[in-house]
Symmetry: C2
Subunit: 164 residues, 2 copies
């Protein structure tokens, strides 16, 4: 079962615009505003996503998949600490320019996307710990919790995480 061409265009545009709105203004933007900026009626939003929450989760899951790709790439860096630190810096930047990540990531607990991200970051953390470069008393979850602050001060937090 495939969508009509115009419907598919609207859906794509909707996800793009919703991503921008949530990033700029946080998850409290009204569905009306998203629909207006996407050039559709808000009825169209609710046909594609039964509730606003479903739209939020769809957008966040896209962002989470991107984070997972970053983590997997960082795992392939030759130096374990540099791989970890590079990932941390990159994610900090993304958080700094995306309110949706700060406000909404915990809503995705339990989704398969969040699980994959968790596993990827865990590998990164364990590799850096085995190399003796990362404090042994932090978990992957701790690391992700530290990112929001780190968004403005990544080097200070990295210094606190580093074993010299």
């Amino acid at each position: 079962m495939t969508l009509r061409a115009d419907a598919q265009r609207n859906l794509d545009r909707l996800l793009d615009v919703a991503g921008e709105c949530f990033a700029e203004q946080g998850l409290d933007v009204s569905v009306d505003e998203i629909a207006r900026r996407a050039g559709v009626g808000h009825g169209t939003v609710f046909r594609n996503f039964p509730s606003k929450d479903d739209l939020v989760i769809a957008v966040l899951n896209e962002r989470i998949r991107e984070l997972t790709q970053l983590a997997l790439a960082a795992r392939d860096e030759p130096d374990a600490w540099e791989g970890f630190a590079g990932f941390f810096r990159h994610v900090s930047l993304l958080y700094a320019e995306n309110l949706a990540l700060i406000e909404g990531l915990e809503r995705c607990a339990g989704t398969p996307e969040k699980g994959e991200l968790g596993r990827a970051v865990e590998q990164l953390v364990q590799r850096a710990q085995r190399a003796g470069a990362l404090r042994r008393d932090v978990t992957a979850e701790d690391v992700m919790m530290l990112v929001p602050t780190a968004a403005r001060y990544p080097e200070i937090v990295l210094d606190g995480l580093h074993v010299a």
Copy 2:
């Protein structure tokens, strides 16, 4: 011009209850709920505070004055780094159990209370820096920005701030 005894009781109770509500649930609690928990009608809230925002600021200013007292006490600690670190740990705890601080402190920019707090923290920071124990590239403002994350991981962030 002094308040009638019952009116004064209501006002005190209102500030207490509002402080609790904002701490537990954040600044989005409705005025209705605060009034109900304080045992008054919500008309009474708006007689004391022209808008909800005025109530929020009144509550936050109380918290800020408490923080300022902590900073002034920390300045009198014999060891400059321990004074700073103790203040940082204490404030982290307060943030961890008070949503209002996380959500609302920036609203108080410009109030005299916020100015005093800024000056007190600045003294603390400069003393620790003169003692060679605190990174020279952070300002008092940076320190206060780091607290929210530090609420869960104060020792890691302190380690990042410390000069060994």
